[in-house]
Symmetry: D2
Subunit: 155 residues, 4 copies
């Protein structure tokens, strides 16, 4: 089977350095596991995660809201400009086998809603609270353990 | 100015008769105010609202997830099949000047997130709680009063 | 049956006054027949057709590439901003029961391809030549006669 | 610069073995040049091109019309289900730096129109004739030479 496993990381385009570090750690672990990182391709959480994955040899996909590749952060290897604005949120979710939500604002909330609607597992790290269906964890390592649990039997 | 005012009503495709009645009342008021009702075109809250608006002489737009018109509920006068699945949620929000969320599940949550992200007012009636930015009300009448307040100065 | 019949008019956003007149005549006939005019909402052929339909009491839907209503031409009564750029071409075609192509450039060519792909009748008026599947006519009146023929048995 | 060059190959989902071979050859050359192959992910021309690229060590992206990964052909390494039906044609074009059209039907015609509309080079191999703007060639090797010419100065 040549198809790769896609882990979506969703979160805001601007974030604190603390949140950036968490995203970076998640990205490192995604890369070390040889999974593909899928994200919205911009800054903040998306960049932190892409950086971590890229530095660990992973493929990083950025589904961009704009129409031009160059809007992607420097750690996106596969920049996919959609030109569809916020509708690209749907694509990020559909393109992911499992979604990890890190902190995040309204865009992240929309992606959480979409992911739960279409039945994708959502792992939450310091993200929107009290949403039934989110699998809340405390650390990047725990997030990856949950990913592994979801994948078991699928690979 | 020929352009009409579009009020989006979002909510689940299946709902209790109580929720259906609330959606129907909202729809009646939308129609009586000669606003256009925008919805996702399916059953439940979408149907209740479309019925109310249609019976009061209003135009009802249904932005459908599927590719065929006939999937629209019987009170949709303008059926717009998108063939884009859940991505039509983005279109419902974009096509609305103001959004009224009635109860709802994950799809509604995604639409709330999108609307708040792109800066559309969201009025909430028995919907997802504790989301900063939602303008929570208790009755259809209050929802319409809030719509009127948002429109003041825009018409 | 409350659902209306939707006639899509596709063509370039800029055009000669001659082409504009042809689009206007088509729009007039669409309005007189109480069909809904669906178009991309911008200038040129889209505006000519919307003007004709609007002046004859018809509903005119503009599925806009941008995210803002005000980009619609002044004869669009139902402005639906999609924020999806060229992907709105797909929506114009899907939202139409029958498509009339008037002159047009590459955007129109893409819509012709999409319409024929998904099995919608395409009537051509001075548009891209030698495309199998287009029902070529010479005048707005002939275009409307062809629409009527397609609708027979459907209404 | 970590971003890869994306070559889109567009063509019908069913084709003759002769056309399949041509697509396969194009795919081989894309892979040998270490470009990413972007396609619609299904059978026919898309599969031929993906096979060629994959067998030569290349990354193959399949932007699928459906909502499920498993609809991708076996040579797609990065399956991106869009759930957006024909609207994924827009994504294939946007995601490509340069498009090679091989034979093809109406879907391909729509992609050619979109690509020319948004200003992407389109190289044609036995595809729709007499469309101004297509750079017609006779062989896979010539197609790749044209790609190289377009890329010169961009890399």
């Amino acid at each position: 089977m040549v198809k790769k496993i896609h882990i979506g990381v969703i979160g805001a385009g601007e974030c604190s350095t603390e949140i950036y570090s968490i995203a970076y750690e998640v990205g490192c672990l995604v890369g070390q596991n040889e999974w593909v990182l899928v994200c919205g391709g911009l800054g903040g959480v998306m960049e932190g995660a892409a950086k971590g994955c890229f530095e660990n040899g992973g493929i990083t996909v950025g589904l961009l809201p704009g129409a031009e590749k160059h809007s992607a952060n420097p750690f996106v290897t596969l920049a996919i400009p959609t030109g569809m604005g916020e509708a690209r949120n749907v694509l990020v979710v559909r393109a992911s086998d499992i979604v990890i939500a890190i902190a995040g604002g309204y865009g992240t909330l929309s992606e959480i809603g979409l992911a739960l609607k279409i039945g994708k597992p959502v792992i939450g790290l310091g993200t929107w609270q009290n949403i039934e269906g989110i699998d809340y964890v405390e650390t990047p390592q725990q997030a990856i353990e949950r990913v592994r649990a979801y994948l078991k039997g699928k690979e």
